[in-house]
Symmetry: C2
Subunit: 139 residues, 2 copies
C-alpha cells in the first residue's frame, strides 16, 4: 500500500468499526416477570416509580440491564405487575447478587417490597417476582 | 481544503454517518398486552408459535413492529399471555389495520383466536388483547 493512502485506509477501518459495532451488537437475553400489587399500596408504588432514585437506576445499569419496563394490569379484581427487561451481561446471577448487595437498592426494596404481593411460588422462595415462559419471539 | 485530502474527508463523513445513524435511532413506542390462554388449547398455541408462518412474521415486520415477545404464566390456576413489542412506525392504527386486512394474518388469527380467553374489557370490545399501564421505564 502506498503510504499516502494510509489516512484514507485508517478512516475506512474506523467507519467499518462503527458500522459493525452497531450492527453486530451482542443479542440480549429477555426476562419477563410477574408479581401482584397491593391495591392500597398502588399509589405509593406509582409515586416511587415516577421518580426512581438515581442510585438505584445506576446500579441496575451497572448490572447490564437495559430496556426495563414495568406494566400494570387488573385481572379478576387483582392488580398485577409485569416486568420486561433485557440483560446484556455474561453472568446474570452475579449481576443480580451485586445489585442485591447494594445499600441504596436495599433501601429502595424496603419501600417497594411491601407494595407487592408475590405469587405463591415466589413467596415460597422468599422472592418478589415470578418467572414466565417465553412462547414467541420476533426480533 | 487540499483536494488530496478529499478521500480521507469522505471516509470521515461516512464513519460519522454510520455512528450517528446508530446512536440517534428513533425511539420506539412500547406496548404490553395481556390475554388469557385456554388450558386445553395451550399445546396447540405453543405449536403454532414454535413455527410461526413466514407470511405472518413478514406482515408484522411490515407494520413496523420489532422485538415482539409473548410470555406465558399461570396465575391463580389460570393461564395468561403477556405480549411485549416495540413499534417504530408513525401511524400505529393504520399499521394495525393493514395487518388485520392481510389474508394470511386472518388465517393465522383463525387458529390463534380460539386458543385465547380475552379479559372482559377486550371481550366487550371484540378484541383479544387488553392494554396495560406502563409504570416504569429505564432505557
Amino acid at each position: 500500500m502506498n503510504l499516502k493512502h494510509l489516512p484514507s485506509f485508517l478512516y475506512c477501518v474506523v467507519a467499518l468499526g462503527f458500522w459493525t459495532g452497531c450492527a453486530a451488537q451482542h443479542p440480549p437475553q429477555r426476562y419477563a416477570w410477574v408479581t401482584g400489587l397491593k391495591p392500597e399500596k398502588a399509589d405509593y408504588y406509582h409515586q416511587l416509580h415516577a421518580a426512581p432514585w438515581p442510585g438505584v437506576l445506576k446500579r441496575i445499569k451497572a448490572s447490564h440491564i437495559r430496556n426495563f419496563s414495568i406494566h400494570e394490569r387488573e385481572i379478576n379484581g387483582q392488580l398485577y405487575l409485569f416486568a420486561y427487561l433485557e440483560y446484556t451481561g455474561t453472568n446474570f446471577d452475579q449481576d443480580m447478587k451485586d445489585m442485591a448487595g447494594d445499600p441504596e437498592t436495599q433501601r429502595w426494596w424496603r419501600e417497594t417490597d411491601p407494595c407487592q404481593a408475590p405469587l405463591p411460588d415466589a413467596a415460597a422462595a422468599g422472592k418478589i417476582w415470578s418467572d414466565t415462559k417465553e412462547v414467541f419471539f420476533l426480533p
